[in-house]
């Protein structure tokens, strides 16, 4: 765990392939790194310039250390040079940096196993922990570290928050960032790591680091393949014991494997095995991209569910039925209401309200009705799915305070679905601040709540 501190929290960074202009990748990264000064020392390397973006630049790697003996170690090197040059560059950095990120592509993914093996070997010999090659590297919202080659203008970074993102794909990373920033309200991230070809550091190493990262409340991970499945399971279980971990495994359609002499071989698609093993160890899996992002919101905000009894509280019948169908698919128990309480609700509410589960407050609803139902039933259910279609007059911004207040006092897991009009948007923000995620459909709300149910 200690060994990755220089990667996520560097005090000094060498940028090989720095550039003078934001039109080049080496310039995008330099611009982001310079924002870290003066807390972090930044050493750009470029043979043609003495100064870059107003700071001293070094013609060679040697020049950074000059005559210094013994050579002090810098924390991190970022390499943005064509793949064939990288073994030589890494050779020069031996004994001089603790970690390195090779951003460049053109290694194993392009059929150049030789180059990948070369950097792997040199890093091992030189005691350098390596991220990549073929990767975006890391983003840490708590200290501003950002090694991404995509500009913030084109790809906005999430605000500081509790979700760590561990991804094998840079494209999926950009999808997640977009989804986090554009969702209403936005989701915040802690540490993001894209490890690309995983010549050295892979998902398991990063899981291990995140176990001890206090800013990270929940972890989501996009995985195409793992090199060592048994180690992956060990690290994922260790992490999941400390904080929620949600995994999206891609490549679900892959055919059977092995020489497949047997039925077993033909049936053992790599995804089938992967999915089974996750289930065997109670590790949570997201069904698809949307599920991953929604799950991240729910997990970052709330504690796990204590049981699977849920109540659907709605002001629209159909929306409640959709939620109810999803509850059945997700294995929730839509427990009926104690008869005594049912009788009481029938007495105090207008005759056209439909008490039960789902509990339909109809279009005649008032904000306070939600409080009445929740207070009356808080001991009878483990979690609550709240639907407030905001097109009706009786739903106001005041509902946000009612629900936030209930959440604070009861501590029960809740999810929320509302409209996207002005009132709905304000409600969503109020609730998110109170720790209740707002989701874009009744079904997505149910699925997000499901992520809070620990598997056995």
């Amino acid at each position: 765990m200690k060994s990755l501190e220089p990667l996520f929290n560097p005090r000094s960074i060498v940028l090989v392939g720095a550039s003078h202009t934001g039109l080049k990748l080496g310039g995008v990264v330099l611009k982001n790194l310079l924002r870290l000064r003066p807390k972090v020392r930044v050493f750009p390397v470029n043979p043609k310039f003495r100064r870059l973006m107003g700071v001293r630049s070094y013609a060679t790697i040697d020049e950074i250390w000059g005559d210094e003996i013994p050579k002090s170690k810098n924390d991190l090197a970022i390499i943005i040079r064509p793949a064939p040059e990288t073994p030589g560059i890494l050779e020069e950095l031996k004994g001089r940096v603790k970690c390195a990120i090779i951003v460049s592509a053109g290694f194993a993914e392009a059929g150049r196993m030789d180059l990948q093996e070369a950097v792997q070997r040199i890093a091992r010999e030189g005691g350098i922990r390596l991220v990549g090659p073929n990767c975006m590297g890391v983003h840490n919202s708590s200290n501003g570290l950002d090694t991404f080659i995509l500009t913030a203008e084109r790809l906005s970074r999430p605000h500081p928050g509790g979700v760590a993102i561990v991804t094998q794909s840079g494209a999926v990373l950009s999808l997640i960032f977009e989804a986090f920033s554009l969702s209403q309200p936005p989701v915040g991230s802690s540490i993001t790591a894209h490890y690309g070809n995983a010549a050295d550091i892979d998902e398991s190493d990063i899981f291990e680091y995140l176990e001890g990262d206090d800013n990270t409340k929940a972890v989501i991970s996009y995985i195409e393949s793992v090199r060592d499945g048994r180690r992956f399971i060990r690290r994922a279980r260790a992490l999941a014991r400390r904080k929620p971990l949600l995994i999206l495994k891609a490549g679900k359609a892959a055919a059977g494997q092995a020489a497949a002499f047997s039925h077993t071989g033909r049936l053992a698609g790599s995804y089938r095995v992967f999915k089974s093993v996750l289930a065997q160890f109670g590790l949570a899996e997201a069904a698809d991209f949307e599920d991953l992002v929604d799950g991240a919101r729910a997990l970052a905000l709330q504690k796990p569910l204590k049981g699977n009894r849920v109540l659907i509280l709605t002001n629209g019948g159909g929306a409640g039925v959709l939620a109810s169908d999803e509850c059945a698919r997700q294995g929730f128990y839509e427990a009926g209401m104690p008869p005594r309480k049912l009788a009481r609700f029938k007495k105090i509410f207008p005759p056209f309200y439909v008490p039960g589960n789902p509990f339909d407050l109809t279009a005649q609803v008032k904000d306070e009705d939600y409080r009445t139902v929740l207070e009356g039933l808080k001991e009878d259910y483990d979690g609550f799915i709240i639907i407030a279609l905001s097109a009706v007059r009786g739903i106001t911004e005041g509902l946000g305070l009612v629900l936030a207040d209930f959440k604070r006092r009861s501590g029960k897991p809740m999810v929320f679905h509302t409209g996207r009009d002005a009132v709905g948007q304000k409600l969503s923000r109020t609730l998110e601040e109170a720790g209740i995620p707002a989701l874009n459909s009744p079904e997505r709300a149910v699925r997000a709540l499901r992520k809070l149910l620990k598997k056995d």
């Binding site: 393949s225 793992v226 090199r227 060592d228 499945g229 048994r230 992956f232 399971i233 494997q257 092995a258 020489a259 497949a260 002499f261 047997s262 039925h263 077993t264 071989g265 049936l267 053992a268 790599s270 089938r272 095995v273 992967f274 089974s276 093993v277 289930a279 065997q280």
Partner: protein, 227 residues
């Protein structure tokens, strides 16, 4: 112990795939239930051979299968004859199989076991997770429903039962519409054994298909090992 038993089978069959009767002998030695039967080598195949039947006290109806280290042999036309009820029928069928399946080294004659829920138990070396054990609905169901689940091997008895409980058709095992539950002890023992065999690292794949489950036990009706 499992490893030693497997090793001695592999020594015996060095350089070729073990045949069904050899795999079944191994499994029987490890405590699994297999149908009563015997192997008749092609060279020895005479009316004399059929008389062995009486000495081994096999009961009709019987099954005759081509025995061959070539795994494709059994899927050839007329490599298996079911529901044999007389000695004459047995001799005729066996001769036909030997004529038909060129690579056959003999035939396996077994008592035919009817009934039971056809399941599949298997093991393979997964590219990412190493040795894994599989369980699912077998026979014809496996081709259509693909209702299988996997667990890391070797698996304990408890893990084996959990593996079985993860398939969609688990309700069929527990018994539906008044049908009795299958013998979960026998099922768990079969899965544990398969998981230990694949975990030895000595073989590439193993298949018990079908593994017939009933309240009375778990019968290995067909078995293959690939080295």
């Amino acid at each position: 112990m499992i490893k030693d038993a497997l090793k001695s089978l592999l020594d015996e069959t060095a350089g070729r795939q073990p045949m069904e009767h050899e795999v079944k002998r191994l499994l029987k030695g490890l405590g699994l239930s297999v149908p009563k039967g015997f192997f008749i080598p092609a060279g020895n195949f005479t009316t004399e051979g059929v008389r062995l039947l009486h000495r081994k006290k096999l009961r009709f109806p019987l099954v005759v299968k081509a025995a061959s280290p070539d795994i494709r042999s059994k899927s050839e036309a007329r490599a298996v004859v079911l529901g044999i009820r007389t000695e004459g029928e047995l001799e005729r069928s066996a001769r036909e199989i030997l004529k038909n399946v060129k690579k056959a080294r003999g035939v396996l004659v077994e008592e035919m076991i009817g009934g039971g829920l056809e399941t599949i138990a298997g093991g393979l070396i997964d590219a990412q997770f190493g040795p894994v054990v599989m369980f699912g609905l077998g026979g014809v169901f496996v081709e259509v429903f693909h209702d299988v689940s996997f667990a890391l091997a070797p698996a304990s008895r408890r893990e084996a039962l959990k593996l079985a409980s993860r398939i969609k058709g688990f309700g069929l095992l527990k018994g539906v519409r008044g049908r009795p539950s299958v013998d979960f002890n026998a099922l768990a023992a079969s899965l544990v054994t398969v998981s230990r065999l694949i975990a030895t690292g000595l073989i590439k794949e193993i298949d018990l298909n079908p593994l017939a489950l009933s309240p009375e036990g778990a019968f290995v009706l067909d078995a293959k090992i690939f080295v």
